[in-house]
Structures are given as C-alpha cells and as structure tokens.
Amino acid sequence: METSFAFFTDLFLHSLSLWWVIIPSIFLGFIVGAIPGFSAANTIIILLPFTLVMDVEVGLVFMVALYCASRMGAGIPAILVNIPGTAGAAATPLDGYPMVKKGQGQMALSISFTSSTLGGLLTTVIALLSMPLLARVGFYMHSVEMVVVMLFGISLIATIASKDTLKGLIAGFFGLMIGSIGADHVYATPRGTMGFLELYDGVPLIPALVGLFAISEAFMVIEGESILSEHSRDRLQTGTWHQTLEGVRITLKRWWHVAWTSLIGLVIGVTPGAGAAIAAFVAYQQSRAFSKTPELYGTGHPEGLIAPESANNGVTAGTLIPLLVLGIPGGATAAIMLVVMQYQGVNTGPRLFMERPELGYGIFMAMFTTYLLMAFTILPLSRYMSRVTLVSTTFMSPLIIGFTLIGSFVPREYMFDMYLAFAFGILGYIARKTGYHVAAILIGVILGPLLEQYMLVALQKSDGDFLTLFSSPLGNILWVALVASLILPAFMKHRQRRRKSVFAEGEG
C-alpha cells in the first residue's frame, strides 16, 4: 500500500475535481441539518435509489459531504433559535443562544462554522494519517470504560447545577429518570411507559430536545417584541462583516482549544455505538473543567460554543474509521454507507485498503475537501443568517412551534411524538420559570439511557459485581481523570482565591 505524499496530493486534487458533487451536497446537507428531525442518515435513505445508481465513488463523496454539512447545519437553529435539531447539537445552544441574545448572533455562527471546519479538517487529517491505530480504540473502550465516559458527560449536571445545587441536581436526576423510560435492555420489560408502545424504545430524542429547548422558549419569548434586547437589536442591525471576522479571529486564537476538543470527538466517534451527543457534552464538560473562567460558561462564552462544535465534527471523521478499517459501522450514517458499498461490491475492512486504497483514503480526502469548501461557501452566510433573530416574536414563536412540532413527527412519523414534544415544552416552560435548568434535564434524558445500557453490559459480564467498574486499567485511568476534572477546578479556584487574599494582605 503506497501512502506517500504524492499519493495524498493526487487524492486531494482528485477530490477537488469533484467539487460539482461536493458543493450541491454541502447545501443540501446544510439545509437538512438545519431542519429539526431530519438528519444526514434519513436524507441518505430517502435518496438511496439515486445513490445506488451513482458510481460508487461519487455516491460515497456525496454521502460524506452531506454528512459533514448536515452536522454543521444543525448548529444554526441550535444557536439562533435554541432548537437543536439533532442530539449532536444538544450542547451547542448552551453558550450559542446566550450569545445571540446579546446580539452576537453573527459572531456565534461564525465561531460555530470556524470551529466546525477547523475541528473537521484537523480530525480528518489525523484520521488519514493514523487510521489503523485509531481503529484499535474500539478494542479498548468496552462497556466499563464507556460507563466512565458517560459519567464525564453526566457530571455536567453538577456543573450546571452550581448556581442552585439542589434544584440543578433534581432537574438532572429527573432527566435521568425520564431517560429510564422504556423496555429494559435485557428482558424487554416495559418500565414507566404509561402504557404507550411508542415509549418502549425509550423517550425519542428529537421531541425531548425541541420540546425542552425550543417550544418552552417560544412560550417564554412572547414576553418581548424580539428574542433580542433593544441594545442587542441595534448591535445586530448595525453589524457589518466585523462580527464574522471577529468570530474567525476568536476561534483561530483558541486553536489549541479547537484541537483538543475535536480530538475528544474523534476518539468518541471511533468507539462503535457512541455518538455525537456524548462527544459534545464530554467536550463541553472538559472545556469548562480546564477553563480559567468556568463561571462564564452558559452566559455566551466563545469556548463553550467552540468545544461542542469542534467535538461533534470530530465525531464525523471518527465514525467512518471502524467502518472502513474494520468493516463495522460506528453510527447510522456509516451503516448506510456500508449498504451502498456492499451494493457496489466494495469490500470494507482491511481488504478495502489493499484492493482499493484510493477509495479508502479517498473518502477521508473527500471529507477534508468538503470542510475546506464549506469554509468558503458557508462562512460568509453567517451575517445574513443571523438576521433571522431580528424577526418579531409575533412571527417567530408560531414559526418555532410549527417547525418543531413538525420536526418531532418526522423521524418516526407518530402523532404521539408531537404530543410528547408539546408535553416537554410545557415541562420546559415550568422549569425555566421556576429556576430549574432545562439543559440539566436534557443531559439526563440523552445520556441516561446510554449509561444504563453500558452499565448493564458491564454488570451482566461480571455477574452483577459492581467492582467490575474498577477492573480495567484504562477504565481506572479514566476514573482518575474524571475525579480530577471534577475536583481540580474547585481546587484551583480555592488556591486562586487564597493567593489573591494573601496578596491583598501583603499589600495591606
């Protein structure tokens, strides 16, 4: 297998020559990503008849571009109107939406696009260079290790709860409890389903997401003329390209932050079955834990937006690695790619790189090119897209409700899911009005079932021995890291305070 510099250059030039597939796919992916309920996976399924008759390379490039762009597109409604359309974007509004409220919508989009692009480019390059090595990650990240990874994400509840610990924890654990609804993973006993068959597979994520975040917000914002304050409106209206450039500058300045949070995404993405939501939450939690200004998170802090966006784009490259190197798809989109490759008679796994290296590496190169082209095609749009937030709530609120109710119907096509979204909307409204953090509930709903699933596998394997959670070396390292990331920030703060007071005393 020849993987020289010349080989990669050739491959790059070749994938650039496919711009006529990539650019339309980018726009299509961008749009479907922005519609709640739609995803790259179900769009590809709908377009499968076309994909199957395309040349295998074109088909794969089309899917890859659509996949990357939809990931980026999902950030737009998450930031602008607080509607994360997919679970992967669930951590994006935490700091994205507060920025919008401050009139920094354009900058927020610009930060999101830039960090998505950088994160995507970086992880793609790393994937290209170290694919065989990365494919091994799945061999070490078993259920025990994944339990700890989940806890990284779930510990965000405690972080979010820092203002009013008791209420934050109640919200988070209530979310975990709601996430426990559904048939149990071993014997399929229905639990807490209130008799609804639609809840057997657990609480569907899109209705929970849009209900808690967006619908409740729509009921809230009618209090004002606009979701923005007077001052923010002026700021946005008079905004020029400056905000976009500022966003790019802020992100580039924090390139190191982009780098390591996107790596978290890559590693979690490589692990079969784990997904963008986990990556985004873990990255956010880690970013905050090691920040010098953790108190700014949740108030519209750029790093709080960079972390989840870099991470969920890192996942994109990650999920393709087990598919290509091992032949096992890491997620829904990868699974459909497998179908297409099999249909076209292309072997996945080690044979792919022996028989058709240009295809194996070509997919990542196409991904690289997609991110590159996105930087030029999408970034300039942020100035215009941010104007959406200027629309009066008279129009905005009904649009949000209509759009999200429709979006919650789309994935499963059950009326039940629309009712559920509404119910979550009311729950979210009550929570917001009475000082409970909806994000804490949401983290529980999303990560709770995953934690339970991994925990059950771990416990089943050890005949119910809880000590198994501390039986693996890698797992133990992760435990230490988890504890450290929870304690360190408090410790550092304490020390900082002490140093300050000592300093003050010295002066006085």
Binding site: F173, F174, M177, I181, Y187, R191, P398, G425, K433
Partner: protein, 168 residues
C-alpha cells in the same frame, strides 16, 4: 402596590415545587412498574430513583423550613408573570394544543395554516393581518411541498392533501 412588593421579597415556592412533585410522582410510578421485574430492569430505579427521592425530600424539608420561618410563600406568580402577557400566553398555548388535536380532522397543511395565522394574529394583537396571513400561507405551502410532496411523510391528511393526491 405593596402586596406585589411583599410577594416579590418572599420566595415563591408554589411554582418551584411543581418539578419536584412531578419528579417524585413519576419516580414512585416508575418504581411501581418495575417492582416485579428482574434486576436488570430495576437497576436504574435504584441508582437514579433513590437519589432523586432523597433530593426531593431534602428540597421539601428546605421549603418547609422557609415557609415556617415566613421567608417564603406558596405563591405561583413567578410561573405566571408578567400578568399582562397572560391572556396571550394562555391563548398561544391553547392554540398549540389545538393544533395537535385539530390536525387529525383538518389535515396537516390546513391546520398548519390556521394555527400559524391564528397565533400570529393573537400575538400581534391583530396588527398587520395581511402579513400574518401571507406568512401563514407561505409556511403552510412550504410545509406541504417539503414534507408531504417531496419527502412523503405520513402526516394526517385533510382536504388539501386529498386535493394534491387527486391532482398528481
């Protein structure tokens, strides 16, 4: 407005108690559904449920103490304020709920239009009616084209959908 000021000073626990009460009720119901189940089904009820119950009980205790000392009231105004928005908000929530019910009979497109138009008129206080109607029409038309015609999603059918079906 002395009374308002008075209630502003006191913590409004009535509203704050809703989530814990819901959480407690749901947890107890959940536990009831797994009492006879194998251990794997009960794991979460114990791991999560027990902690949640404990947290809620602590919250109740804190709340009771605050009430006892007169630092808080069982008022719910924080849930409802600001009062001048209340009719609009209740109307809007009712319209949203109505959307979900009526859609079964009027079908997806027509209900979307009616909901959009009605809630825009309601929230805008009847101002700019033409703009409201035009926006609602555009939204409903886009929804019809994208979700029903293009992606063939199984939304409830009504006169518009049947008409489109007959024409195609």
């Amino acid at each position: 407005m002395a009374s308002t000021q008075d209630s502003d000073e006191k913590r409004q626990l009535g509203g704050e108690l809703i989530i814990p009460v819901l959480a407690l009720g749901f947890t107890l119901y959940y536990i009831a559904t797994v009492v006879d189940s194998p251990w794997s089904a009960q794991l979460n009820a114990f791991m999560v449920g027990s902690v949640l119950i404990l947290l809620v009980l602590i919250f109740f205790a804190v709340a009771a103490r605050a009430l006892w000392r007169g630092e808080a009231s069982l008022g719910m105004s924080n849930l409802i304020e600001p009062y001048h928005i209340l009719p609009k908000r209740l109307g809007f929530i009712a319209l949203s709920l109505g959307y979900l019910i009526v859609i079964q009979w009027l079908g997806f497109t027509l209900t979307t239009f009616v909901f959009m138009a009605a809630s825009m008129l309601l929230l805008g206080g009847g101002r700019r009616p033409i703009l409201c109607l035009v926006s609602a029409t555009i939204m409903a038309a886009v929804a019809l084209v994208v979700f029903v015609i293009l992606f063939q999603k199984r939304f409830p059918k009504g006169p518009v959908e049947y008409l489109v079906q007959a024409l195609s």
